[in-house]
Amino acid sequence: MGLACMKLVRRQRELRVDFFRGLALWWIFVDHISGNWLSYTTLHNFALCDATEVFVLLAGYSAGLAYGRSMLRNGWLFAAADAVRRAWTLYVAHIFLFVVFSAQVTWSAAALDRADYLDEINLDALGSNPYEALLRALALNFQPAFLDILPMYIVLLLIFALLLPLLRWPAVLGAVSFAIYAAARVFMLNLPTWHGDGWYFNPLTWQLLFMLGAILAIAPGEPPLPRRLLDAMSAAMLLVGLVVIYVVWERPGLTAALPIRLARTLFSIDKEGLHPYRLASILALAWLTTRLVPPNAAWLSRNFAWPFELCGQHSLPVFCSSIFLSFVGRLALELDDRWAMQIGVNVGGAAALVAVAALAAWYREKGRAAAARDRAEAAIPGLAASLAPASGPGNAPNDAVALSETARADTGLPQG
């Protein structure tokens, strides 16, 4: 079973990215179950950033690889259309998830007599004003808890499609992206929501992390500073994070000794707008990771790595399932909060996520094989007319890199 699943991992890809993307997805699942003991071991306990930053940086990296290269080969319009098509896939997935999750939470709230679920997840409006709620949900303007991540991803891809030509001049893209980030933070610009004052994950600030990921993918190059210096700075940044988390936040009294401005800053490190400390934290973490894990690291092919890689390669179905499963996990822990249930929820949930990824991988492989067979058959004269064009499910891309592969296969353009 394990061996069969291991074979489903596509090895020609950058496995480091897949591994850490899968790890981030797993952390997102673990952290979304309130009261899960395992959530005391995830990234946000040790760094100022968390799985969201990892996920967005790597999403940008994958997008850079897929659409950035495609743009260099096929031009802006072609690559941007691909990116928009991917955003559409995400949008459809988001709406489906919205319906599933709303049904799950509202039904649970009614069945278990727990109106507070609706309060906490901000689903109240669906009951009190359903007509408008549906419209607002379609406009990504009504975002209950957990349903705020995919909308950000959609908008990030659209911004990326727009800024794509700038990838030819990474410094310019970086500068433009930073300018948008800075303006959004200083002037508090955000997209609107129905009840709140803006998206929980402000796409105008988070785009910077996404673009940096894309730049790293397309123009790795030499680092701007000596490697040793970057090592030291990154380590220092992570140390600062630990001090903030375990000293400053734990003992607010100590901050009396600090200058008031610094103390205020340390207590207002916001996730919504990707606070500069969080940005610095994820960049430091990314730098040290690339220093410690070479692209061909042997452990990436070992036994424990494949479940993460498989999840990372099929991030959309895994993410959507994790939202559903994390609420099931929460209900289970509310029923019984002892060791057996804690272990059951985490092992069962992780196994389910890997199964979803394996299923997606198997389906994709099967679809591609069928498409290749159809194409071969279509090449035989006479058969071509009797067969519809190959558009099996395997042609539906599972993520950004898959999409570029499909595009390559479909267009038959030479690969740069």
Partner: protein, 252 residues
């Protein structure tokens, strides 16, 4: 392992017995454990103090979202404001304590402020209990706007001749994990430092109950839920009553 010396045994006993002694001043029968830090008023509550003379009447207005309504059928009696009134009556038998509850699920601080304004137009109160912040944290509205709503409310209440006790968010594991509570807590703390305003730290008190396994609504099973919710409101009410009396006894 070395044999235990008598002094070790004594130390061990002291460690085991000390917590039970420390709890001796709290009503053990109902299981309310309320550390004194939660019932110390940071400022005097002069309007409450004047109402608390023998034969006097303390009029309380309680405004908030779902939790002011309480778990039972009668919001005025079963929610923590009603329980606080009950505890105040028990503590000061000569005084009539009357409470009006204004609230509904999921209303924001701005809507609550409107209700306070309306209620204060209808009749005077000595004390306003204002439970707020959860809806803002869940919806991620601007903490700055929240802070100015609170400041406006504090001004309104004090100029209407009443004291104000702010009650912060309800603790839940879900909120802790998924909502950014800190900026709203900070806004409440700021408002709590205004004259005539005291902040009741419900979030921290409830968190301590959950951590010690005393009152844990999220983990209560369906059959016990009602009983646990009732106990929670009784204990919150008692804590608030102590805070009110502490503020009344303070010299302005």
């Amino acid at each position: 392992m070395k044999p235990l010396k008598p002094c070790h045994v004594l130390a061990l006993l002291a460690v085991l017995v000390a917590p039970t002694l420390a709890q001796a001043d709290t009503p053990a029968a109902s299981g309310c454990v309320i550390p004194s830090e939660f019932t110390e008023a940071t400022t005097a509550l002069p309007q409450v103090a004047t109402a608390l003379h023998p034969g006097g009447t303390l009029d309380i207005l309680a405004v908030g979202s779902a939790t002011v309504l309480g778990p039972g059928k009668s919001p005025a009696a079963d929610g923590f404001p009603g329980r606080a009134a009950e505890a105040l009556r028990a503590a000061r038998p000569g005084i009539a304590v009357q409470v009006d509850v204004e609230g509904s699920r999921g209303i924001s601080a701005a809507e609550q402020l409107d209700r306070i304004r309306e209620a204060l137009k209808r009749r005077p109160y000595n004390l306003v209990l204002w439970q707020t912040g959860t809806v803002e944290a869940v919806r991620n509205t601007s903490p700055g706007d929240f802070a100015s709503t609170l400041a406006e409310g504090a001004e309104l209440v004090t100029s209407a001749g009443a004291d104000l006790i702010l009650v912060d968010m309800q603790f839940s594991r879900f909120l802790r994990a998924n909502a950014n509570v800190d900026p709203y807590e900070e806004a409440l703390q700021q408002a709590g430092s205004l004259p005539g305003v005291v902040l009741f730290h419900r979030y921290e008190l409830m968190r301590s109950w959950v951590a010690e396994g005393r009152i844990d609504l999220e983990r209560a099973d369906r059959n016990n839920r009602q009983a646990v919710a009732e106990q929670m409101h009784v204990c919150l009410g008692r804590a608030i009553a102590r805070l009110v009396l502490d503020g009344a006894d303070k010299q302005p």
